[in-house]
Symmetry: C2
């Protein structure tokens, strides 16, 4: 399916103009944000295309949102008017389950409310995301952006950033560890930056030899070409952790070979059925295969603060809103270094 | 392939009579064991059939070996003549790698020497297992059997026992945890006994409703019928750990559904390519899929001592050596409760 056609045609069918969808009134604990930039995540394209058969049109994608606070509820105490503010993939969760109580709203046992395409009591019956001019959300799910970060490069931290930071922290990545980042795209380039910043010996694992130089400039200590069987064999059993950012179905076996005894490969890219897995790869070496989605709100703020301290932002290409269909087309071809970000002043 | 034919015909081709294969002379650190009982593991049948394409005929299977010490090297200090002694799946390892240094000889980075079908300097050029009258091995790989255990029931502890005990200990299974054991066979019935003995709320997960009563008599607190979609759905997200003993290719997804956030399913049965795995099952809930083989020597002794304290042995059906081909046939149909053990005095 042509993503451009799909996006345009579905939007046209609905009486609401997607970029003029009203937002709910600002409640006592709500923050209203004038959106300045919004990152373009591959998930946005999956929703536009209804790849996962859960899209309700018209959908307004976008969950890498940065802007400034323009209105506040009376009970808001985390933000002031004019503050830089950000929203990621969630705008609510139950708050009462074990996961929420432990600060892991992303694993809310009752299901978190996604920033777009989630049922809600708001106008329109569901949430609408950041390809828009304003967004209103409870301050609990709104983040602070450190002042020293360029905000267009900070936008992708809200999804690509936390998605890679959270597993690296969960598995205690740090100095004296050898960490592989598989795939150099929106997620992978952030994985390299974070693994490097956390002090690990960071290896970019990619099928594309031409990405070697870029990977090193992003912070990779080494590059391992996964299509080079000899090079891969030499690295068997050498890795303490692998972050797998490949966004599509692929065979896991050759990456599992790279792990040390008891080490883990965490999938953050492919949210789908994978063709095959040889259980022997897990048994011999008691290796672990895991997965992870985004991160909790507290952890997301911690990540943003870490980025402020380490001066980490995403490498982005800023586009105007009328270039979004072209951007989707290029995204499919991985033709972006490494994240499109929409300048919302172009609406 | 008919396992009986296969076993007989391959053995016949070779000039060595398998049950009369000589053993090496007793070296200074060696123990010679007169074998009394040897368990019949599904792995034995895989080797007999050359399912894994690594069998060198004639093969003498058997790695659940118990007997009495009949000869000793001059430097042996762990054993005396007449002691009960046991050998499991390994008879050597490099001793110098990180895994060996940490007591995990089963993950020896240079490959452990298996009790049968492994290259060695011994007579015959490789190791021969426990379907035999004697075995000679370095005392470091020989275990003590607590005196209070019936030895025919203790034999399967050397493989089925340690294979299930080791992961339960590695993942710190204990009271206040809900643990699922998938599959009720040689491994599964030991998994139930150990999980129960470690204090966990133990749930037998099986396709076979008729196994419910047996599972409870083995120590299961509950039985979950995996073919009952409603029953499975009710248990989604309820398990702290699942030990998966299914010995063949199967879909993992419905079992992963049962896990809590951050919980692990460990595969100990199927050492082979599995058809499919939905990565989404791992991502949503940061679940872990792992695998484990047997256990280290120190841990195996710990397991045997634990069995002595808790009076745990396997449920076995004792056969004579001339019944082995019939036993293999029944093993394929899971027609044994729960482990065949060969009385080696029948040779």
């Amino acid at each position: 399916m042509n993503p451009i056609k799909s996006f345009a045609s579905h939007q046209e069918k609905h009486p609401l103009e997607p970029f003029e969808i009203q937002r709910r009134n600002v409640g006592p604990k709500d923050v209203k944000i004038q959106i300045e930039y919004c990152g373009v995540c591959h998930t946005d394209l999956h929703f536009v295309n209804n790849d996962w058969k859960i899209t309700e049109y018209p959908v307004v994608p976008g969950h890498e949102i940065v802007g400034r606070v323009t209105d506040l509820g009376s009970e808001v105490n985390k933000f002031s008017l004019g503050d830089l503010a950000a929203i990621g993939c969630m705008i609510n969760s139950c708050g009462n389950c074990k996961s929420c109580m432990e600060g892991m709203e992303q694993y809310c046992l009752n299901g978190f409310t996604a920033t777009y395409n989630s049922p809600t009591q708001d106008y329109g019956g569901r949430t609408f995301g950041g390809y828009s001019q304003v967004i209103v959300a409870n301050e609990s799910f709104v983040l602070h952006i450190p002042d020293n970060l360029e905000i267009q490069g900070a936008a992708p931290l809200l999804c690509a950033g936390i998605t890679t930071y959270s597993p690296l922290k969960h598995w205690n990545i740090g100095p004296k560890m050898k960490v592989g980042i598989v795939g150099l795209g929106g997620l992978g380039h952030m994985g390299v930056k974070f693994a490097h910043a956390l002090g690990a010996h960071t290896v970019m694992i990619t099928t594309s030899p031409h990405k070697a130089e870029d990977a090193k400039s992003l912070g990779a200590d080494d590059v391992l070409i996964s299509s080079d069987a000899n090079a891969m064999k030499k690295e068997n059993g050498e890795f303490d952790f692998i972050l797998n950012t490949i966004p599509v179905n692929h065979s896991l076996d050759k990456y599992l070979d790279l792990l040390k005894v008891d080490a883990t490969m965490c999938i953050v890219g492919a949210i789908e059925p994978l063709d095959s897995l040889n259980a022997a790869q897990l048994l011999f070496g008691r290796k672990n295969l895991s997965g992870s989605i985004i991160g909790g709100i507290k952890e997301t703020q911690e990540m943003l603060d870490f980025c402020g301290t380490k001066k980490i932002i995403s490498d982005v290409e800023v586009i105007n809103i009328n270039q979004i269909n072209e951007a989707f087309k290029r995204l499919v071809k991985s033709d972006v270094k490494y994240r499109f970000v929409i300048n919302m002043n172009s609406i």
